[in-house]
């Protein structure tokens, strides 16, 4: 077991969680015969894609012992920026996408510079980011949604490749990218070291500040991709999009077994976490649970899943 490659090790470590997911799927399938249909499975995957993509970036930040509260607002800002460029400036769509992704990366990097170089607590830096990016999105659009986008966006949101919707492909793409980053590059190793013990990392010659700054830039990058996907799915961009997305993303990461204390965890667990949350939401809609009770059920199920995981896994999250 100890020699297992990273991916399997991560999945084995989250064995209890996987089991919880399987139990949920079985229960739902037995209540609703529509649950385990191919189209609903694709539906769930497509629905979690935005949250999962953000959560992959968040995983990197959290492994580095940070937190990024600004993702929801950044998503809105990148989304409306892309939409404004695509509708107003007459730029080719590919260029709009590139600009949007670079914008996300740069704004994330600004967070990262404050955390890494100015040494301000990540919670505060990204909370400031949360309000500032949201304000900027509202100022840019004067609070109005932007529609009338070129057809590229709805093709992105609804097109398929080999039978799978594009958002799902993009999600798996970001998953693999993040996995390779974390497990197979020196930078990824450095992120684990910095998150696990910053002082030890520093004394080992790891450029701690640069590594920290990178994690936030990566989170901004992932969030920008999620923004493009969401803009495609909605075929419009709202300055109010993404509210409370940070909580959903962090929940996926933490349910997936990555420790908020840093230095531990991985991106496959995050996928399971996002799936669990997605399946709960989907299941409640399918079963038409009344909206007041939905919140109670959702909290209870997540707690139960984690208890099962604790009972079966060896180490603490």
């Amino acid at each position: 077991m100890s020699q297992a490659p990273g991916r399997w090790r991560e999945l084995i470590a989250r064995f209890g969680l996987l089991l919880a997911l399987v139990v949920m799927v079985i229960v739902l399938a037995s209540i609703s015969d529509r649950f385990l249909t191919t189209s609903n499975i694709i539906n769930v995957l497509r629905q979690i894609s935005v949250n999962a993509i953000i959560a992959f970036g968040m995983t990197v930040v959290i492994i580095g012992a940070g937190i990024d509260l600004s993702v929801g607002s950044l998503l809105a800002l990148v989304g409306v920026s892309a939409a404004l460029l695509a509708t107003g400036a007459g730029l080719p769509v590919w260029l709009v996408v590139v600009i949007a992704v670079v914008l996300g990366l740069l704004l994330g990097l600004v967070n990262g510079l404050f955390v890494g170089y100015a040494g301000v607590a990540p919670f505060i830096v990204t909370l400031a980011g949360l309000t500032i990016f949201r304000g900027a999105a509202l100022v840019l659009t004067d609070g109005r949604p932007i529609s009338g986008l070129p057809p590229f966006f709805s093709r992105l949101g609804y097109g398929t490749f080999l039978g799978l919707p594009l958002p799902i492909w993009i999600m798996f793409g970001v998953l693999l990218l993040t996995f390779v980053l974390l497990r197979h590059t020196a930078l990824g190793r450095a992120i684990y070291a910095v998150g696990g013990n910053r002082e030890a990392a520093r004394l080992s010659g790891i450029p701690v500040r640069r590594v920290l700054a990178f994690t936030y830039a990566f989170s901004g990058f992932a969030t920008a991709i999620a923004a493009i996907v969401l803009t495609g799915r909605l075929n419009s961009a709202q300055p109010t999009a993404g509210q409370a997305f940070e909580l959903d993303a962090i929940a996926a990461v933490v349910v997936g077994g990555t420790s908020l204390a840093g230095g531990r965890g991985g991106v496959w667990g995050t996928l399971i976490g996002a799936l669990i949350i997605g399946v709960i939401n989907n299941g409640m809609n399918l079963l038409n649970v009344s909206s007041f009770y939905q919140q109670i059920v959702k909290g209870g199920v997540i707690l139960a899943a984690l208890l099962l995981d604790r009972a079966l896994s060896r180490r603490e999250g």
């Binding site: 450095a190 684990y192 013990n197 030890a200 004394l203 080992s204 010659g205 230095g263 060896r314």
Partner: protein, 496 residues
């Protein structure tokens, strides 16, 4: 005792362990161990790193339950559910890994876990003073513990245990960061406890200490008890053979042939260190000695850019990164705080400082080469168990120390700064580390070793700097003599 049948027989044991086993997952750390302790006895517990000493004693202290076997304290069979239980039964332990809260004051740490419901910091400070005096530690009781040097923290930990009035006291390597002066003082305290009928378990890798203080010895090897006997019947060689199952040659170093290369000249000062300068020649091993708080660790930290002011050949050392860029590397004195990333594996820790060397195609890690590099150091330093994928947090203290040293040695710097490099390392592995250090010096590395172990310094160093009150009080050169060094360190001999 009044029973005629037992009259004249030894008194009832304070502590009796029978057939104790302990498993961590599939790994069996203790395999049916028996152990007992009598009132007024100092019972040494010895063994190589990872033999199971700390594990055994943590069962006694209620830190973790045994997987099977029985534990009797004062004749009563017990199953501790926590440290509090053990304390209630009169058992206290000085842990190998300091169990202190760095953000609380020294005084609070002395009474941690048994503070009165309402805390008056002033009264607490007053109650702390006598305890601190006992171990001769002169710090204001309300100082945050984190501001103390490791050796000083070790003294706090000892003072805390002494303040508890226990029937059974376990010392797990209490002197690993103490110099001979503090050790002598500790022995005085232990003798007084003995007279009062306290039973003491003493774990150490310094055999001369064991022979100086202990009455009986139990040796563990790979989780099994291999020997229990009165020390009077044994020689140090007997004990070492029982521990490692073979002879260990005491490391003897031939003085290095000086390389012709120019020396590294360091100037330093600030942060409690008097301004000064030292030169380290390639191929030379320089030692730094001193009592706890004398500033030898601070010297190394300062040279490495961790506070204070340091210059190498006139150029400022701004930060550890800068120091590394200038060809230095440091083994820090506190392995948990600064040396290891506990959640990462042995392999990942060993290669942490040489990642740039393992990179292919600009960013990807060459896993094969990384594995080779890790296995090389695991073998060389006798890591137990020799598993590269084990998280470092699950290693025994001594093995963790080997990982920190291995990581530093792997970098192959021009100037190597070693701060207590063998803290908690067993005899066998220690000579191995000495051998590697010697080899590196012969290859032209300049090495500065700070240590509280006089024997270690005498065995290794070409030159010895003795620190007192933040300055070099005297510089000694080969041949070095243990007694003379101790005299200088304690200040018994002053040189104008």
């Amino acid at each position: 005792m009044s029973d005629p049948a037992t009259a004249g027989a030894p008194p009832a044991p304070l502590l009796e362990m029978r057939n104790v086993t302990k498993r961590f997952g599939a790994f069996e750390a203790l395999k049916g161990v028996d152990f007992d302790l009598y009132p007024g006895e100092v019972h040494a517990l010895l063994g190589e790193n990872g033999a199971g000493k700390s594990t055994l004693m943590k069962i006694v202290a209620g830190v973790q339950p045994a997987t099977s076997g029985t534990l009797r304290v004062g004749g009563e069979e017990v199953a501790f559910r926590g440290v509090g239980d053990a304390q209630a039964h009169g058992v206290a332990m000085v842990y190998q890994e300091l169990a202190l809260a760095t953000d609380l004051s020294v005084a609070e740490n002395l009474f941690l876990g048994r503070l009165e419901p309402f805390v008056s910091h002033r009264r607490l400070a007053e109650r702390a003073r006598p305890l601190l005096e006992q171990v001769d530690l002169d710090v204001p009781p309300l100082t945050p513990l984190g501001a103390l040097a490791v050796g000083e923290q070790q003294l706090v930990e000892i003072a805390r245990a002494l303040g508890q009035e226990r029937r059974v006291l376990v010392f797990d390597e209490p002197t690993a960061a103490l110099s001979s002066a503090e050790t002598e003082r500790l022995f005085g305290l232990i003798r007084r406890l003995k007279e009062r009928g306290v039973g003491i378990v003493y774990i150490s890798h310094r055999l001369e200490e064991v022979f100086a203080i202990a009455d009986r010895v139990t040796v563990l090897r790979d989780g099994r008890r291999v020997l229990t006997a009165p020390l009077a019947e044994l020689t140090p060689d007997d004990v070492v053979r029982a521990m490692v199952g073979r002879e260990v040659l005491r490391f003897q170093r031939e003085p290095t042939v000086r390389a012709a290369a120019p020396p590294f000249r360091f100037e330093y000062g600030g942060d409690g260190l008097a301004p000064g300068a030292i030169e380290l020649r390639p191929g030379e091993i320089v030692g730094a000695a001193g009592v706890v708080g004398s500033g030898r660790n601070k010297l190394l930290a300062t040279l490495f850019g961790l506070g204070g002011e340091a210059r190498l050949d006139g150029a400022r050392v701004a930060s550890p990164a800068d120091a590394i860029a200038k060809g230095m590397f440091l083994v820090p004195e506190d392995r948990k705080l600064a040396g290891l990333v506990l959640d990462l594996s042995v392999r990942e820790n060993l290669t942490l400082a040489i990642l740039p060397r393992l990179v292919r195609a600009g960013m990807f890690l060459d896993r094969r080469q990384e594995g080779q590099e890790a296995r090389r150091w695991i073998e060389r330093l006798h890591l137990r168990p020799p598993e590269p994928e084990k998280p470092v947090v699950e290693l025994s203290g001594g093995n963790q120390q080997k990982v920190v040293v291995g990581k530093a040695l792997a970098t192959g710097p021009r100037v190597l700064l070693l701060d207590e490099p063998t803290r908690g390392v067993d005899v066998g592995a220690r000579s191995e580390i000495y051998r590697v250090i010697d080899e590196l010096a012969r290859e032209g590395m300049a090495i500065l070793v700070a240590s509280s172990d006089t024997e270690e310094l005498v065995g290794l160093a070409d030159r010895l700097l003795v620190f007192r009150h933040g300055r070099v009080a005297v510089e000694l050169t080969r041949p070095l003599d243990d007694k003379e060094v101790v005299a200088h360190v304690t200040g018994a001999r002053q040189v104008a």
